[in-house]
């Protein structure tokens, strides 16, 4: 199977497949005499596994760990549970902040429905009010956990 066929079979972009190989997630396949990558069914399965994990937003580094576990079937699986638990916690935390966000944006949106001059725009007023530290309809305490990476 050439890379384009693997791509079509899995729905994964050709560039992404090569990227996974570079990152060591997908084993480097054999090559045809012309240098083209030649994939087998094991690659197909592995790639499907990776994509399934990615659909669950598991980071590539953790997928690597899962693959390592899968290769040692006699090991303890506690770490797998833990990994999924952590992923679940991450998702729940994010969900919580997204819900707050939706509410805030919704409140903000209500401030302006008509077309008028920017100077009268309730949305902009509200955003500027926040800059003065005044109470504002849209904004609770969501300044933390905005998605940026903090150490």
């Amino acid at each position: 199977m050439r890379i384009g066929e693997l791509s079509a079979a899995t729905g994964v972009d050709v560039e992404t497949i090569r990227y996974y190989e570079r990152e060591g997630l997908l084993a480097a396949p054999a090559r045809q005499t012309n240098g083209y990558r030649a994939y087998g069914t094991s690659h197909l399965e592995r790639l499907a596994f990776i994509r399934h994990c990615r659909a669950l937003e598991i980071p590539l580094a953790d997928i690597q760990r899962l693959l390592d576990f899968a290769a040692r079937p006699t090991a303890e699986c506690g770490d797998i549970d833990h990994l999924i638990d952590e992923q679940l916690l991450k998702v729940r935390a994010r969900l919580k902040s997204m819900r707050a966000l939706e509410k805030q944006l919704g409140e903000l949106r209500k401030r302006c429905n008509a077309h008028h001059a920017v100077g009268e725009c309730g949305i902009l007023h509200e955003l500027v009010a926040a800059a003065h530290g005044e109470a504002c309809a849209c904004h609770g305490d969501a300044l933390s956990s905005t998605g940026g990476k903090r150490k």
Copy 2:
């Protein structure tokens, strides 16, 4: 006000403040004779505005646009409404996929609660089953919109 004080006053990291300046979001301040940045209250307000928008996960490019609008108070504000609407749509779409995600991870997590060998681990089995295209408890149709940028 020096950069450290501005940072303390707003809770924005010093490096981030300099980053906003480089990106053109925050006007370059005057300099003291020693080369240190000297900020005034206008910078403080503007930075608070930016952070408030970022807390709403408005992209920097859109914040730039909002700032441009604010500078021309006689313009029409329809575009502001539109910008917030789009942001709201983005958040709602993301919220939807996150909810599905939580459900899937929750299902997956149920597959394994005890410590036993990896070969028996329901989680790993489930993930591998997906690789074979079998039906799996955790996975609906969330392969699209996983956060990666697609064109």
